[in-house]
Symmetry: D3
Subunit: 113 residues, 6 copies
């Protein structure tokens, strides 16, 4: 079955430790750049997390989707907003995204929305 948000976050952390054990400067700088891109700027963090979510949906990466769903929840995105953002991803990316849309909304639901 689908992993819970807690299981997902724990596994993610454990695997990131393995990455950091082996990472060279290129990988470390990429991780740092990845954090920087989502920082509050001309666009609010909330918008940036929705951009990351829709990009992850159309590229169909479950782990990336779940991560941004959690971050959108932390940034107080509303259910109406998340559904509209996911709807754009669905229309752009097509029915092939539906299995990921299902798991995105399952995680959103699990977070109490």
């Amino acid at each position: 079955m689908v992993k819970t948000v807690a299981e997902f976050s724990k596994e993610r952390e454990q695997l990131n430790e393995i990455v950091m054990k082996h990472a060279d400067l290129t990988i470390k700088r990429f991780y740092s750049l990845d954090s920087q891109a989502y920082r509050e700027g001309a666009l609010p963090s909330k918008t940036k997390e929705m951009l990351g979510l829709v990009a992850s949906l159309v590229l169909r990466c479950d782990d990336c989707i779940k991560y941004h769903i959690i971050r959108c929840h932390e940034e107080a995105v509303t259910t109406d907003e998340i559904v509209e953002a996911l709807g754009i991803g669905l229309v752009v990316g097509g029915s092939i995204t539906i299995p990921h849309l299902r798991r995105a909304l399952q995680a959103w639901d699990e977070l109490g929305n």
Copy 2:
């Protein structure tokens, strides 16, 4: 291990309920359009399901592949036909589709073919 066809169908149904709980008009209309596209028309349903199967194989979506494998079985596609259709997907999409081809034929086998 690989999910059985029954487990897959049950999970799919449960998650679709969560989608419908939150869905707006865009998502609902997309679901409706998705059903419409596969309806018997100038092309028979059987051909349309094979089109959906090959599209899902080259885009490498296991859930979509399994769904169309089940539908092809219901539409009485033969093993020779399914293997030729999957072969086109393999040649178009390359060796990166092989793990999905394996799971496609595992599901096909499980359905008694």
Copy 3:
């Protein structure tokens, strides 16, 4: 060389006429759904166009990128905002998006930004 925004829009219109000449109900309903998804709602049109832009960048579709660049310009997105949105697309989608990023900013520049 790169097409101008005017050449792009004219060609797009001409080809859409050919689509509509042949389109069946499925294709027509998809076009209608595609318009609906970007309409002002819980999220403002401006945010939706940026979501469409980033989705198009990570999927690396030049025509889709140019279309959303034009729409973002119409919605008065600022250069700082467009650059931050494209930066998220670049980090998510990697260096493979750079040729599309170049053409995105070329079109943005051409629009007088």
Copy 4:
């Protein structure tokens, strides 16, 4: 502007000569396998060409789409059939396929359909 079918076929032939000038056994065997996959078998050539067309549409390769559009025309696929096949590709692959759908129907139109 869009290349004509004749220009496309001529360029394709010229470039294939360059491929064959340099190709090793792996590339030659791949080309041969690519031809074999579309040969009449349990599925008719016509169905196989539509499978190749839809796979090419969802993977968004203009050259591959144009090639299969020409082959579908040679196999006497009707406009109603081609439109339904493309409609499945559009629904599976999403709005990101629309620029390719436009060019597919432009080529179909040019072939006198």
Copy 5:
């Protein structure tokens, strides 16, 4: 949780048996071509396995990545080399590859590197 290398290899073997039970000449020839492409030639096997690994990372196929990680280990690729190869995949393919990078390095670690 993540499958062990042993579990992965066993499941892969079992599913390949199902493929071979149903495979036609196209699929069998593809499998044979897939083996041939990685054979020692102008490029050493070690380089070819790294090419397969990076191609698998940017296409985000966990099974393909794990297979090439195992083969790179057999070909005595060093940790410094694997990390630099994965770093190129990360930069080319973007943050969307990070979940696969994590699992790649987890498998590399599990192999005693």
Copy 6:
């Protein structure tokens, strides 16, 4: 027709100037990281350029392919090596990569190989 290597390099330079005119720190750091990843290290530059080439082929980005073809030429990769590397990309990525393989070998040929 296909752009010459000289036309390609000139256009690339002009568009990069537009990127740098608008780029923020995220985009600038990405460009810098992109250069760093290909620097001589545990793996020689020559191998790294082939990794970039194959990644670009399977992701089907003509501009990226042409760039790495030029770089491979500068690093004195032989025709036998380039053909084997491209062959791996073709097998991994499938027939959908063939139009890009054609243009890759056309550029390789143009460079006097």
